[in-house]
Symmetry: C2
Subunit: 157 residues, 2 copies
Amino acid sequence: MIKHAIQDVYPEDLAHCYGCGRLNESGHQFRTGWEGNQTATYYKPEAEHTAIPGFVYGGLLASLIDCHGTGSASLFLHRKNGHEPEDGVEPPRFVTASLEIKFTKPTPQNETLKAVGTVEEIHPKKFKIHTEVYAHDEVVAAGVVVAAVMPDTFKAK
Amino acid sequence: MIKHAIQDVYPEDLAHCYGCGRLNESGHQFRTGWEGNQTATYYKPEAEHTAIPGFVYGGLLASLIDCHGTGSASLFLHRKNGHEPEDGVEPPRFVTASLEIKFTKPTPQNETLKAVGTVEEIHPKKFKIHTEVYAHDEVVAAGVVVAAVMPDTFKAK
């Protein structure tokens, strides 16, 4: 449901994340794009992603909020720099400094989850992403991610 | 490295969590037990649990801290009630109300991670678990989980 995702244009060596790497075949391959001035990521959990039968486990929601957060920060700074994912220009890559989640309702299985984010700049290299995760039009979790531009020490590895 | 884990005695219908359910064959099967007055969970991430090559992705750490938190709360309340995991008595089960994580260092792959927790009672049915995750004797992430006794509405499902 996302046409142009920021993860589609991450450089190859940074596209192996279990959460959002398009080259990680075992992973979730989350894709994050703009919907107006908000960012969105859709994902339908697998049957095995259970907490107790019928409900999605918290770790999946944490992964979704985390990667949605870094992807949203990348979208935001890329747009600030004059680019959109469909340009094909390499976007800035982020790491997560912190993650806070409130689990507001049990998350039903067999539903496509939608994470919706708004990005706030708190420093030229640091962004706060406020995310709500919806299942069937109800908020099931709310999260705040602080994402920082990836240090060069990571890329050197 | 944990001999008697609280997850070993969760009732069968609550043992399917992707993070810590002993009956979820696709999942991580985290096991949490006492080490003195602290709780501990050990886990060696799989090769696919990558953020960027060489480092573990944040969602895995979030899952570990989350399930370690609910397991720790269960151990704590069970002990308060006079029981240890090796009794075979069914322990109380918890859900996560909130989760906060600070990622303090990149988490290297190919290391066994150790989550160490201390439990604080903040209400007879609500506990706060302070966790540090170590890789090779360095703290790579610190988390706080608020865990609440599982509501009966969950168990009815």
